[in-house]
Symmetry: none
Subunit: 199 residues, 4 copies
DNA sequence: CATGAATGAGTGTTCATTCAT
DNA sequence: TATGAATGAACACTCATTCAT
């Protein structure tokens, strides 16, 4: 299940993958601390303790780094959701799913928000779209549980629910909210209300 | 009711205000067609059929144009919401408010979305913040109606509801959805569910 | 003895000459307060309470304003020196000349210094050169007095003495010196020393 | 004894320092031939046979180049004066100092004069001020010699003498004078006269 | 004569990307 | 493979000057 994001060389060797990781983490750190302001390849390479030349050996360009960062976050979300979906199902499963998604988004909230913005700005990426559809599929499976109302099977349901979560969590983060449980409960009310059943 | 966004000179004369309008419309058009890709002052001036010097006679910088665009959209939203809020109230008022907000966001959906992104990237602007608080106030007044549940008076309610609307509408637009009535109904379900009452 | 600096129209009428004066004084003020930083035609016109179009009716360009400013200062110096030279002569005359020159340079010291810099930067101007030669002539006549040593008649004497005065006064002004009498005495020592006679 | 003027990267390698030198020499050449007229970063880079990007790798901005040029001239003056001051002292030392200073100023006279102008226009720079105070110190030590009159120890003495030298040399250069020994002798008369003793 | 909107060449600066070493 | 010096297209912004009204 290796990523298909085009790396100029596959980081099969230890040193290579360490370099890739350093670059990605440096990029993430810059986005978190100074936003897009200082997000440029020279700065990324410098903070990663790597030469700009090396950066271009592992990534075909700046956007590829951003995309890989987006993919990394989405993989994490996918795996988290998959774990939850495997353990629970139906009404209670959706509850856990929401909580898990909110937690994911709030792990590195600033990074998550900036990456969302960049994702909108970037040309569509195969790898990212594949991950998005995987996540959609997981959510869809959860929504298909028999104890959830018919509306949960509607084709827009997954997109709507993901939009509600992202929208509310991003806004809360931007307002500086910290009470995760309150936020989770409000998101739940919205989502279950959307589906037409009590949380 | 004039905007306070600082223009270098007030467009009191006809030619001036026409130039300002042309610049803003050109900027909006670029954002809608090529996104941030070709959004630069030279391109804006060119598409406005105006010299780059004229652009800088009326706007102190590129960001000021973007901010004015944001303010323009927000003013429209504010005025639309104010009209609705004046006519209706309570449960039905909220319904109309949602419909109005969705309509606003969908008038020039791509522009609205890009401007949302830019608003997040730009340093906070007094004018924009004033408009945001005016809109918040209108929504707040609507939510304070006695036939709406207690939860509508919660301090986060306004922010949450705005986030739900924007999130869902943006996502729908990005998926290419066109059925406004379906979208409006789904948003309503989410918002009224959030408040804990039936739409 | 009207200036030959090319004005687009001769300010024969009262209103015209008032406009010219306002422009020149605005230019002088800007140079004094913000230096060359904000020294541009739009700013000059604005501070003069005159439209940029009017400015170009009375001056062929920015440099012409600067040159006229330089000429104005030089005319003042010339007239002051001429008065002094008419009353005194020889050793005592030179004393008075020095004092007069220093006083002139210190009337608007910042302006004088900036104009000196600009004079060096500007292409040579007929009008300015004529004034310079007039001033030279006056100094020369003073130096030709029989009680001054032979060296005072040397061809470089005038230039050297003017250079000493300007150099010392500018430097003193830049250091923030205010004691004119001390400065005058030191300049005298230098100049009379240069000539090889006691002050 | 390296300059503290901030370079973006230290030119430790050969190619780097060659680039820096080329940029500085190109800048100096432009100032000498066309003055401030064509003194812009693109022209500097072009004449240095270097891309505009390289220029900005080694200098944070245009002014930094000018400052470095100023510093370079001052360093040369400082070192020259230091050598002289080490060998001679008192009356004869001052003689040698004057000659050395004049020689320095006349090595690249046009450049020296333009840089003097720019120094006045630029915001005060730590590096330049440090060099100025070092030069002042050297001159001051020379003036403190016991065989020189009391007046040489006056606080304004150093500033006055430097002003006399610069003023006379610049003016001479502008008149196209070439006889250094005559100029030196006249400056000496002025300076020693200023101090109240025979050359 | 006066106005000031409009012009556009010019300039400083950034940053993604390449390539010789 | 790694390095980092070099590149140059692209961009934001200024300001002297013109000209229609």
């Amino acid at each position: 299940m290796n990523s298909l994001i085009s790396l100029r060389k596959k980081p099969t060797q230890k040193r290579s993958s360490a370099t890739v990781a350093a670059i990605l983490e440096a990029a993430a750190l810059i986005l978190e601390t100074s936003g897009l302001e200082n997000y440029n390849t020279n700065e990324i390479a410098a903070r990663a303790g790597v030469s700009i030349g090396s950066l271009y050996q592992y990534f075909p360009g700046k956007d590829a780094i951003t995309r890989k960062l987006i993919a990394r976050e989405m993989e994490q979300l996918r795996d988290t959701l998959a774990d939850v979906a495997f353990l629970h199902s139906g009404h209670s499963g959706l509850h856990h799913l929401l909580a898990a998604a909110i937690n994911c988004q709030l792990r590195r909230p600033v990074l998550a928000r900036v990456l969302d913005l960049e994702e909108a700005r970037l040309p569509p990426d195969e790898d990212v779209e594949r991950l998005a559809s995987q996540i959609d599929k997981i959510v869809h499976r959860c929504l298909a549980a028999p104890d959830l109302p018919e509306s949960a099977r509607a084709p827009e349901a997954v997109g709507d629910i993901v939009a509600i979560i992202k929208g509310m969590v991003d806004a809360a983060e931007r307002r500086g909210e910290t009470d995760i449980s309150s936020l989770t409960s409000r998101v739940s009310k919205s989502v279950f209300g959307y589906l037409g059943c009590a949380p």
